[in-house]
Amino acid sequence: MSESPLRFSVVDGVGELVLQREPCNEIGSAMTGALEAWLDALDDDAVHTVIIRSSVRGGFCAGADLRELHAGLVASPEAEHAASLRAFLDRIHGVMDRIDMLPVTTIGVVHGVCFGGGFELALTCDQIIAEKSARFCFPELRLGIIPGFGGIPRLRRDVGNATIRDLLLSGRSVSAKRAHALGMIAQVVGRGEGLEAAQALAAQSGKFDPTARRAAKAFIKHLPREELAREKELFVELALRPPLLAALTKFVDSTDLRPYLP
């Protein structure tokens, strides 16, 4: 039996959700299902903070599972693509929105690759602590699509439109240091220091009055519902065009050992 893509533990009111799917926590049906099951089982009265991190060497998360997406598209009739894409987007948006709105403090600990859907997952967290090795990127235009897991509307809550245009329209990756300067993340720490920094932050969060802590988050953090809905529609519209399947086929067929470099 294959290992679960996630593991979760709680110590002294601090939950730790570890993404552990090789090679780099790609988000497909297995990861989505595991996140749904985790959310269903989470007792948010038993934790005041959840830390989300990755145990795989390559990074936090490389984004959507492109091989699974490709396999799904080639295995089904074209007439069914819109419905199946929409169904997957509804699921993953549901997961991302639920994490975003959890009534506990969430801390993303990021190292290495944090690309596409992985960046979008990190952006659901209340605070991101990035190790110096982290790089953030929205590479979706290279596939003929836009980010589809809600990342752009979520990021728009935090930074200016020019910053988003830079990332989205260039597809370039930026370092933890740059991401911090742009206001996208809360802290930059040394290599391998992210978890300890998150635990210290969680311990501080645990000292606060629970009602005030929850009220503060609910006061300042809202779901950009209209934009999220528009994003889903635009994603499906773009994804149904030939460039996505062509790019996915090229990715799947590639023998290049450097698929994460553009």
């Binding site: 260039s170 370039r172 240091k177 450097r258 470099l261």
Partner: protein, 77 residues
Amino acid sequence: MSDTVHTLMALAARQFKADASALKPEQDLFEALGIDSFQAVELISELEDEFDVELPDYELQGVKTFAALAAKIDKRR
């Protein structure tokens, strides 16, 4: 050998525990360092930090050797 390529190779050797004296500017850096794409992504951040530049990914397309990478860094300084 330029200062940049020398510093670049020393930094890369330190990060990936390679023998700096065995590295040559015209070597393929992936092969010389034995690194994969994830490690290459990390290396870019280290280089940006070291040389105080930004290295957009699209400018690094096709860059394979230490010397070519050093030239890209120099253009950004």
